[in-house]
Symmetry: C2
Subunit: 397 residues, 2 copies
Amino acid sequence: MPVFELAEYLDRVARVKARMAREGLDLLVVTDPANMNYLAGYDGWSFYVHQCLILAQNEDAPIWIGRAQDAEGARLTTWLPVDSVRGYPDHYVQSTERHPMDFVADLVADRGWGNGRIGTEQDAYYFNAACQAALESGLPNAGFADATLLVNWERAVKSDAEVAQLRIAGRIMEQVMDAALQATVPGARQSAVAAAALRAMPRGTPEHGGEYPGLLPPLLPTGESSGAPHLTWTDRAYERNEMAVFELGATRHRYHSPMVRSAWLGTPPDRVADLAKVVAEGLEAALDTAGPGVAAEDVSEAWRRVTARHGLEKKSRLGYSIGLGYPPDWGEHTISLRTEDRTELRANMAFHAIASLRRDEVTCKMSEAFLITETGAEALARVPRELFTRYCRKTKR
Amino acid sequence: MPVFELAEYLDRVARVKARMAREGLDLLVVTDPANMNYLAGYDGWSFYVHQCLILAQNEDAPIWIGRAQDAEGARLTTWLPVDSVRGYPDHYVQSTERHPMDFVADLVADRGWGNGRIGTEQDAYYFNAACQAALESGLPNAGFADATLLVNWERAVKSDAEVAQLRIAGRIMEQVMDAALQATVPGARQSAVAAAALRAMPRGTPEHGGEYPGLLPPLLPTGESSGAPHLTWTDRAYERNEMAVFELGATRHRYHSPMVRSAWLGTPPDRVADLAKVVAEGLEAALDTAGPGVAAEDVSEAWRRVTARHGLEKKSRLGYSIGLGYPPDWGEHTISLRTEDRTELRANMAFHAIASLRRDEVTCKMSEAFLITETGAEALARVPRELFTRYCRKTKR
């Protein structure tokens, strides 16, 4: 039931162990749900309680530890041997007396790993301050090191099997964006547009259903809120002559192809159409620049040069690497497309570049999820890179 | 644009400050997105980067601190004065050189609060080990205390205005459950059922749209996976003569009414129908017991007595308090309906009780979200408390 061949998981574990060895780690406690999936295949919405993988340098398979009732899900979705799946009793759940990481510390000590050097993902989602405190208190003889992003860096270059999932996610995104656009007409409730997009995400294509994206709800900054990128939706109806922005996700086996497009409700004034052209031109320049051997900041610099020529600027980073992800994010948190990030791009890396400009209270945004190929960059979803216009139940471009 | 009257937010802040005073705290760093919403009204999908509220005993309004690009969203959704909204520059985002909590520590020190006793939500989502470490290192003269659940406990008893939101969420749930049931027929892809449910969540009722639930994706344990409660869905088609379980959420202004129901694809064998009757009977006994002045464990004990009579048992807790929530959860993490939780239930508390039993490889589950009233308990959504049967595009009960 895991998505990939066993050999692929074993290769991932071997690469992570090699990195652990370079950093002098005997043991790694993996709590980021995407990293748990990467190494073990585990896929469930159980990260609302504490859970982890324990990867020991001297043991072949990681050990999954989670709530007892989720052990069955671990058996169904991972390649791990049965005795590498350990559930903690339910009285550890949201208790004021005991912490699930007490259970983890006990297991680590029982296995004789309590004197080792242990890496924890200290800046990862869900590994909160109490987790670290419980491990330190339960393992007084261990040495702790911050291993944030250790696994994430191994995820940056995808295998061909992973690339295949990204491409399917791209096909699903074409359906998702179309559903959102078609639902957007003057008078339609924002929540109805969200409904159309959310329906399309699992629906997928005739061949492949999709899943819930890491950044799950459609982000629909509109009208007065169009400068607030992370608001979701309200019951407000779309009005004529305003900008509707759609930031949407599509995912297949947790691999993401996100996308942003903008639509004007009605015929866009020249100043808006011109703004959209700059956004599209800048995004195209970024994609034309991206390719193997290029530095991350070269891509954002290509975008910046176009916008500067028009006297415009986006203050936040242009983009970031993507792949496997769970809520609240689909980013990998490693490479950013921004000044000072000199990471060299390599074939089979994937990124999400978000071109966004604001002028006269109007924000226009377009993005592409793209794969670095042997020769350049390939957009994962094929949706025209332009400002859409929406009138009444008919799309005119 | 905040959902409630200003007076309600001021009352919440006053109650939290009183609790801080009892615990000897000068300052509280609030990172749980539900707690940020509770105190300030803030509502955005920005918890994938570090953010917080700073609530100082000697200042009227909390200070919102988040990524600069989200400050506009904070201005739009909160009641806070403009100068209480502070954005950190983008180079703090997922940087290996600086942590957003360095920015928070600097602000706390600048305001003269660096020698105080500071509470942090050490076991909350998103407040990871690196957050605590950055605050401790940036504020060497402060005393730190664990303030996990401090705000959550103030959320347990809802105002009448909050209860109104819970009731609307109940109406939305009736639509959501119906959509999932209608889509479930032999041969339908699980992902198509997920699509139908996800569409119904924002769609809501003609009067009120809904939002994304805290436990967002429909959980659809089915057939061989029906014992794994937190798996989502696959492309597998439903088959005749298997159990389909639906754990679904509905939310209005972030207030939740979750629900679980089960359906048999075809005519259920007697042993399955009998199992469902025990589940319904036990759930009813729990709801009949719940009311003001009753202890949390009395409710789970009522359930346990029914199941024991039939020689059956659910190992995990029966339920938990609900209300405001963000992914990954809709639970409040305070009160559990389980043995040893002696918390006294009070009017305007809300709970989610999940009755679940497994026999001969078949799991049947039903739940109710309910409100404690002056005299007893009231289910938030009205859906028959029985095993549904699904044939071909027709519901027969």
